[in-house]
């Protein structure tokens, strides 16, 4: 096994967790269960993993499928790209001000079109590099950057005077 699973795990655990977290209503317990499931599947298939496919693309495909299955099991038909940020979280550990700030940001994110929201999510929440975003979109890095920048401008407009 050329690539060490421990290294692979350390590199992707945060992004995978966040990806799931924003798609299950920000419920930590559900996100942890699904993340465990995702990495267990990845662990079992790790010997067959072809590094040329790209680590992030591979683990995110597994994550995506697990989230889709999660909603399917609940008999909820949702578009996985639409579900992000639309469900209000239930964690109650923040102060009222922080919660309000975050809620406003999430609401504004929700107003964006799913592809725009995905760009911002990938870049600023999941830690993708523009090159990786571009690969996932089949575009050039420059184009991904420009589109992300435009989406950010739009988000900024939505938030004007609110934060």
């Amino acid at each position: 096994m050329a690539l060490n699973f421990a290294t692979f795990y350390d590199k992707h655990i945060d992004a995978v967790y966040r990806f799931v977290y924003f798609r299950v209503g920000q419920k930590r317990e559900v996100a942890e269960d699904l993340t465990s499931d995702i990495f267990t599947s990845a662990f079992e298939a790790f010997d067959r993993f072809d590094p040329e496919r790209g680590e992030k693309a591979w683990i995110m495909t597994i994550a995506r499928n697990k989230v889709i299955n999660h909603w399917r099991d609940r008999k909820d038909s949702v578009d996985i790209d639409d579900v992000a940020f639309t469900l209000v979280g239930e964690e109650g550990m923040e102060t009222a001000e922080r919660r309000e700030d975050t809620a406003t940001l999430k609401e504004a994110m929700d107003k964006l079109k799913p592809p725009e929201r995905n760009l911002i999510e990938k870049k600023y929440l999941l830690g993708y590099r523009y090159e990786e975003i571009a690969t996932s979109l089949g575009k050039k890095a420059g184009a991904a950057r420009v589109e992300t920048h435009r989406a950010m401008k739009k988000l900024k407009e939505y938030l004007k005077g609110k934060l």
Binding site: F5, A6, Y9, D10, I13, D14, Y17, R18, Y21, F22, Q26, R28, A31, E32, T35, S36, F39, T40, F43, E94, R98, D101, T102, L105, K106, I120, Y124, L125, R129, Y130, E131, K140, A141, G142, A143, R145, V146, H149, M152, K153, L155, K156, L159, L163
Partner: protein
């Protein structure tokens, strides 16, 4: 745009997985694989060197007895010797702020061993009994100070980096918008936009 990125960063940090969860999951998965933790050679040397050097400093006999024995506690004739060795150990081997905190936790454990020993062997004086809670307070303060310093360091570094990146990016992005509307030939516009997009790719992060 900086404030927006900071808000997103806050959201990112709020959605970070719990460390207990990530560590437990990793341990569970690796135990299936039977993968033992990997220690780097440099780490082994560092940890091997410390006890050797310490042994040389301590020598044998009284000094090492005073240092190692929990029976030597505050009030004992050898206690100043023990404190002196600990001071040397702290200064020589635990110089960094992080190591200082580690040493403080170790000190707390040593003081607790001494007091437990004293309780097991008679009724210790209040000055000895008070040692553990006092040392605990010092430990908590050191940990809090270290955490705060670290957070400030990270925040400052991240803020500066972000500002520099934003400045550089904004120059190019504004130029791009300008070119998009500039009264120039279409083929030239495409050429320049292509060059800009190439550069934007180069300042990838």
């Amino acid at each position: 745009m900086i404030w927006l990125r900071l808000k997103l960063r806050k959201l990112k940090s709020e959605s970070k997985p719990d460390q207990t969860f990530t560590i437990a999951l990793k341990r569970e998965l690796l135990s299936k694989q039977g993968q033992a933790p990997v220690y780097r050679t440099t780490v082994i040397f560092r940890y091997a060197f410390a006890p050797i050097a310490l042994a040389l400093i301590l020598g044998v006999g009284t000094t090492s007895y005073a240092y190692a024995s929990p029976s030597v506690c505050n009030g004992n004739i050898l206690y100043p010797l023990k404190s002196g060795v600990e001071q040397v150990e702290r200064t020589v081997f635990y110089a960094s702020p992080q190591a200082q905190v580690k040493y403080q936790v170790k000190t707390l454990e040593r003081r607790a061993d001494e007091v437990n020993y004293a309780i097991d062997h008679g009724a210790p004086a209040i000055i000895i009994l008070r040692k553990v809670p006092e040392e605990f307070t010092i430990t908590k303060q050191q940990i809090a100070g270290y955490r705060k310093a670290k957070q400030e360091e990270v925040e400052q570094e991240s803020k500066e980096r972000q500002e520099m990146e934003d400045r550089a990016e904004n120059v190019l992005m504004n130029f791009r918008h300008k070119v998009e509307r500039a009264p120039i030939r279409e083929d030239e516009r495409e050429q320049v936009l292509f060059l800009i997009d190439q550069r934007l790719g180069q300042i990838e992060r």
